[in-house]
Subunit: 242 residues, 2 copies
């Protein structure tokens, strides 16, 4: 019931921004069920702006509306997850390549500073910070492409893979605890930065693709590890469909 301040700047936008951010940072689990009225109560708004936001999110593939009208977070199959990551490699690689063509010393420095903060966060094992700064680095990089259709597509794919993040960062936690050597995970970003300095699009593309491939590898290892330990971690509800 925590009544949100209506800042007068469009309640619908506020509601959407909140749901979007929560989905993207992985606050909802695959298969999790939502209720429009519940969300409205939570955000101190009426149903109308919530429903409009839900329509947006469904159009983006971030939530599902079943035949009966109930709402849930999509539960991606293994194949779909690979397809999602392969598509990310394709389009984010392209964005990185275009970024390398347009990067300037100033824009490169912004990325370097993000990476510096990320290194500190990594040294301190601050997972939340690492995650935030990783996203910041990627998005700042892609924005250099100045390519709206491409950026929209990338944002859609990140939104869709939001619910997978907790699993990935669970894996990340495991390996950082066992592995003192932080070189692997961060090297891709350094390679990208070098590519920008040298205006080398193809190196930027390949390093970005390797970074994403690495994320998928982490997810898959974790899924395998846990599947043989317990009963699969895909997340939320039962496999009932409709």
């Amino acid at each position: 019931m925590t009544k949100n301040k209506n800042n007068g700047n469009g309640l619908q936008k506020t509601v959407f921004a909140k749901l979007y951010a929560d989905l993207r940072r992985g606050r909802y689990k695959p298969g999790e069920q939502l209720s429009g009225r519940g969300l409205a109560k939570d955000m101190g708004a009426s149903l109308t702006p919530v429903r409009e936001s839900i329509q947006r999110l469904e159009a983006l593939g971030a939530i599902e509306i079943t035949k009966t009208g109930s709402l849930r977070i999509p539960k991606l199959s293994t194949a779909e997850i690979e397809q999602l990551y392969n598509l990310r490699m394709l389009v984010e690689g392209q964005a990185a390549a275009e970024a390398a063509e347009k990067a300037t010393p100033e824009t490169i420095q912004i990325l370097e500073e993000i990476e510096e903060q990320a290194a500190k966060a990594f040294a301190n094992r601050e997972l939340g910070q690492i995650s935030t700064l990783n996203e910041k680095f990627h998005m700042q990089l892609y924005q250099l492409s100045n390519n709206k259709p491409l950026l929209d597509t990338i944002n859609m794919l990140w939104l869709r893979s939001g619910p997978l993040l907790p699993a990935i960062y669970a894996f990340y936690q495991v390996i950082t605890n066992h592995l003192e050597n932080s070189s692997e995970a961060e090297n891709f970003h350094h390679t990208v930065l070098n590519a920008l300095r040298e205006r080398n699009p193809e190196t930027a593309r390949k390093a970005t693709q390797a970074d994403i491939r690495d994320g998928l590898k982490m997810y898959k290892s974790l899924a395998v590890d846990l599947k043989q330990a317990m009963g699969g971690l895909t997340g939320g509800a039962d496999p009932k469909c409709d």
Copy 2:
């Protein structure tokens, strides 16, 4: 006021499907203004399902909601149009490549039949049919990839380029009137079909990319031709922004 039958299967879906189809087939011009209440009247529905549909379409980038809340079809800059087509080449090329890996004699035959009808439509200069069958060929091809994130992305890009179609087909009409030789335009599809038969992903990718590049070339030629004849044909309203 032509009251639509509520088929009981979700008025919102009906409204969205109609708007989506009209946008995609280029019934709306870039810069054109829409009004929620007007659309509601047109479709015999209340505001609610219309507004929800509008939210979906804006999330997909098919319409714009300005700061004051008014609705319009986005007017793409030349740069954005090139970015849109470049992205289409990237992702549709990928879809075609994956389709080539999964094609079967049966699925290939479906494509051949579409292409056969398209050849007839081309011989008869039936522009509407050509357009419909061209889209049908592309979508049927991409669906062979069985890749949902990829297909969703492609559909988003086709939706966004819908308002450009009239200009492209205007050009198409011009050249088909001057050019008896129909080989150019259709050869890409034949190359794709051959690539599917040979299970050659890279050829399918390249032919698809060439097809799309050709569409962009047509658009650009037309834009140049008309710009030097009159005052540019980008479409709808004045360049006022907000």
